[in-house]
């Protein structure tokens, strides 16, 4: 309650400013510094940079008063014509509703006029291990995002008619990656990506380690025709998950978490949150000009900035 009062008070101050100082609107006084800042809003001491992307930066920080170590993702919307980006609103709103041990926790949101700082719990560095066991341990925050690897063929083919099925494809890709330890369609560009997807491959050969039921589900997830691809409900009812509950570290458990994280609420599903999530990556000129290629949809649901998808499913491995 006191926290709310403090918030209301600070909002009130901001509002007073808004009413009294119209001149303030003319210029942006706070912008994301080009160099590493010493502190963030005077609350956190910056200890290092964990990652960088088109959205901004992720810092490793220490709460000055409590000493808590956190990861702070700063999202810069200085150049956004549409004020606060929709991707940011969706990302934070979604994270605010998620409260699960296996999903990275959003601790606080600090905002200035031109950027927002998302304060996350700092993930255990070991989390990088499970997808990169062939390449040694990698920092989950630093791992270069390559969301193209998870894009469904209909998106790569530039179809304007796509739906929630694109997420199931992404889940299939991640499922495969859990088994092999590397992106299953990991290629250099979209054309190679399509080549990889459409080249005749026997999944049972690549995923020889996988149980038959798992392979069956994987095939249903990686079905080329989005209309015939399995749905979230269908996937969750698949026999692969029959004898759950399972060990939380298991592949199946993580897969369920991932599937469940997709349509968080009914209205999102019925209104096609995912289908409608064709907003643009505001910093990427390739997508912002015409809005042609929507950002990876799974990524949009979990979080809308490029660094986030790996973060989520790495978190799921916890």
């Amino acid at each position: 309650m006191t926290e709310e009062n403090a918030d209301a008070q600070s909002s009130l101050n901001l509002f007073t400013q808004l009413v009294q100082c119209k001149n303030l609107f003319g210029h942006a006084h706070a912008t994301l510094p080009s160099n590493r800042p010493d502190n963030i809003e005077g609350i956190y001491e910056v200890m290092g940079i964990l990652g960088e992307g088109s959205f901004g930066r992720v810092y490793r920080c220490k709460h000055i008063r409590t000493g808590e170590i956190v990861a702070i993702k700063q999202i810069d919307f200085r150049y956004d014509q549409n004020a606060v980006p929709s991707s940011l609103i969706r990302e934070v709103s979604l994270l605010r509703e998620l409260n699960h041990d296996n999903i990275v926790r959003l601790l606080n949101v600090l905002s200035t006029e031109t950027y927002v700082s998302l304060v996350f719990e700092l993930l255990d560095q070991d989390l990088g291990r499970y997808i990169s066991r062939n390449n040694g341990v990698r920092d989950p925050w630093i791992r270069k995002p390559a969301t193209r690897y998870y894009r469904a063929p209909e998106i790569l083919l530039d179809s304007s008619q796509y739906s929630t099925g694109v997420d199931l494809w992404s889940v299939g890709c991640i499922f495969g990656e859990m088994v092999t330890g590397e992106p299953i369609f990991g290629t250099k560009n979209s054309f190679d990506e399509l080549d990889a997807i459409f080249s005749p491959t026997d999944l049972s050969y690549i995923f020889a380690d996988l149980e038959p039921q798992g392979l069956h589900l994987l095939k249903m997830l990686l079905c080329l025709d989005p209309k015939r691809r399995v749905s979230v409900e269908g996937a969750l009812k698949h026999a692969y998950f029959n004898d759950l509950p399972d060990h939380p570290r298991s592949r199946r458990y993580r897969l369920i978490l991932l599937l469940k994280s997709l349509p968080v609420h009914n209205h999102l599903r019925t209104k096609g949150f995912i289908l409608k999530a064709n907003f643009q990556d505001h910093n990427d000129p390739a997508t912002s000009s015409n809005g042609r290629v929507p950002a990876d949809s799974l990524e949009n649901v979990i979080s809308c900035t490029p660094n986030s998808l790996p973060v989520l499913y790495l978190a799921c491995s916890k």
Binding site: D7, A8, S10, S11, L12, L14, F15, L18, V19, F25, G26, A28, Q81, N82, A83, V84, P85, S86, I89, R90, V92, S93, L94, R96, E97, V109, S111, E113, V116, Q213, H216, V230, S231, V232, E233, G234, L236, K237, H238, A239, F241, N242, L244, I256, L259, K260, P263, V264, H265, N266, H267, L268, R269, T270, K271, F273, K276, A277, N278, F279
Partner: protein, 190 residues
């Protein structure tokens, strides 16, 4: 592969009786309903809001005007019903958090534009720029920069909880219930 799972009418009375239900009906389950009810309270105006409206501390006419504008603008841009609902939800939640200065007529209009902008960004595919959003015969037109500041203020006041649980959230569940637990989505899989 499809597990045989069909409850009869009697069994539907026992909510959550089947431990496997959690996995079998992950999105429509009673557990999901409980979660939504639990979350809903975080997406409602404060308790005293209605009283404040009733005893005139909050100008009901201003609110109505703002909502009228939201509906007209929503219609103009072809926004869905959820978008409009969310706008009004944000507006009420914000108004319940503190009072707008009474002598500034433009503040309510600014709030209405901001709430619609936020709701559209959350729920719609095509979102007009803050300037384009301001359709109609409003006395005031606000710069994008002002809208942006106001957006941040509303976001912070509502603690960035913009994914409100609304009556729309429950429609599927109750449709499924009155339909003997046979959701249409399930039948479309087969």
């Amino acid at each position: 592969w499809y597990p045989s799972y069909r409850r009869n009418l009697n069994e539907t009375q026992h909510f959550g009786a089947d431990p496997n239900e959690f996995f079998l009906l992950p999105l429509q389950s009673d557990e999901c309903l409980n979660l939504m009810v639990e979350k809903e309270c975080h997406h409602l105006p404060r308790e005293d809001y209605l009283n404040r409206v009733k005893n005139g501390k909050l100008d009901f006419g201003d609110r109505k005007e703002a909502i009228d504008w939201i509906q007209k603008a929503g219609l103009h841009f072809g926004f869905g019903p959820l978008c409009e609902y969310l706008s009004i939800n944000y507006l009420d939640r914000f108004l319940s958090a503190y009072e707008l200065p009474k002598d500034r007529a433009w503040t309510m209009q600014l709030l209405a534009v901001t709430c619609l902008s936020l709701a559209a960004k959350f729920d719609e595919t095509k979102v007009p720029t803050p300037l384009d959003l301001q359709v109609g015969e409003s006395e005031f037109v606000f710069e994008a920069k002002i809208i942006q500041r106001m957006e941040l203020m509303v976001l912070n006041t509502l603690k960035w909880r913009m994914q409100s649980i609304t009556p729309f959230s429950f429609i599927d569940y109750f449709l499924c219930k009155v339909n003997d637990d046979q959701s249409q989505i399930r039948s479309s899989i087969l």
